[in-house]
């Protein structure tokens, strides 16, 4: 949250915090309910990660105050996302580069 936040603004935010808590609890119930349907892996993965992304975004936006944060924090986060994506791509692509795997001449 920006450093110029005042007590009056915070009072308004408290109601939002409670609403976000309700949303997070409801989404947790939905995730578990969908898991009990025992869908095949691809739709199950998409639903689970989609709901987890919404929950994570709610926590980051409201509890971590990203919704009203300064540019420097976003700049830092953009770099983090890029490095994380590179990390994932490098690791997962290395799956196709194992000893005993099919090697194209």
């Amino acid at each position: 949250m920006s450093d110029s936040t005042h007590a009056e603004d915070v009072k308004k935010h408290v109601r939002i915090y409670i609403a976000v808590f309700g949303a997070l609890a409801a989404l947790t119930v939905v995730t578990v309910a969908v898991a009990y349907l025992h869908l095949s892996i691809v739709p199950a993965l998409i639903v689970a990660l989609f709901i987890a992304s919404i929950k994570g975004s709610l926590v980051a936006a409201y509890f971590m105050h990203l919704i009203s944060e300064k540019k420097v924090i976003f700049a830092l986060l953009i770099f983090t996302v890029i490095f994380l994506a590179v990390l994932f791509v490098l690791t997962i692509s290395s799956y196709h580069d194992q000893i005993g795997g099919h090697i194209v001449p």
Binding site: A7, L24, A35, H38, V72, L77, T80, T91
Partner: protein, 205 residues
């Protein structure tokens, strides 16, 4: 010598220094957990069955080996603790130190409850001979949840300091203390977000 910009925003960044510091730290934490999550994906796509053969028994789904209701309960506990810690910060912003103490106390209790439940879960695995060395599923399960648990322990230690002896700063430098609680909260929310992704990945898929 005073540490600069602990209360007021630094002109070039627009935020106080500790906030940039904690976000940089959290960026490094994203890479730490990101490495382990990518290891999980790597192990999983190469596995003929998941969780697979563990301790001489075949587990077809994670439901067969992990307790989903208990995991769900722990998710709720951690989400509740995220609310209480942001409420503790909001209480300080509204000049209510008594409320701050109550909410921060609740946050610490939620953190401890999470660890106690996790300890019961671990014990249930160990008592059935399910140790990390039994297979890839258990290895990545204990590594990810263990590292997350250590982060919860770290958060409880810091939050307990700010609930107890560290709270004296409220009398001498209230704005700086409020900022410290915001920073402690940012860390705690990050630990919550990690669990939000960890729970479905390990328990439900």
């Amino acid at each position: 010598m005073d540490i600069p910009y602990t209360v007021t925003a630094r002109p070039d960044t627009g935020v106080y220094n500790a906030k940039v510091g904690i976000w940089l730290f959290l960026a490094s934490e994203v890479m730490l957990f990101g490495g382990l999550f990518s290891a999980y994906i790597f192990l999983r796509i190469g596995a003929p069955a998941w969780p697979g053969m563990l301790g001489g028994q075949l587990y077809k789904t994670s439901f067969d080996i992990l307790n989903v209701p208990i995991g769900t309960f722990n998710t709720m506990v951690l989400i509740a603790s995220s609310v209480t810690i942001v409420m503790s910060w909001a209480s300080l912003m509204m000049n209510d130190f008594g409320k701050y103490k109550r909410y921060m106390g609740l946050t610490i209790l939620c953190g401890l409850a999470f660890l106690v439940v996790k300890a019961f879960e671990y014990n249930a695995k160990f008592s059935h001979g399910l140790f990390p060395a039994e297979g890839n599923f258990l290895a990545i399960y204990f590594t990810l949840t263990g590292l997350h648990g250590l982060h919860v322990v770290g958060g409880i230690i810091v939050n307990s300091y700010f609930w107890g002896p560290g709270s004296k700063m409220w009398k001498t430098d209230p704005k700086r203390f409020t900022n410290r609680i915001e920073v402690a909260g940012l860390y705690w929310h990050f630990v919550d977000i990690v669990w939000i992704f960890l729970f479905p990945t390990i328990y439900l898929l």
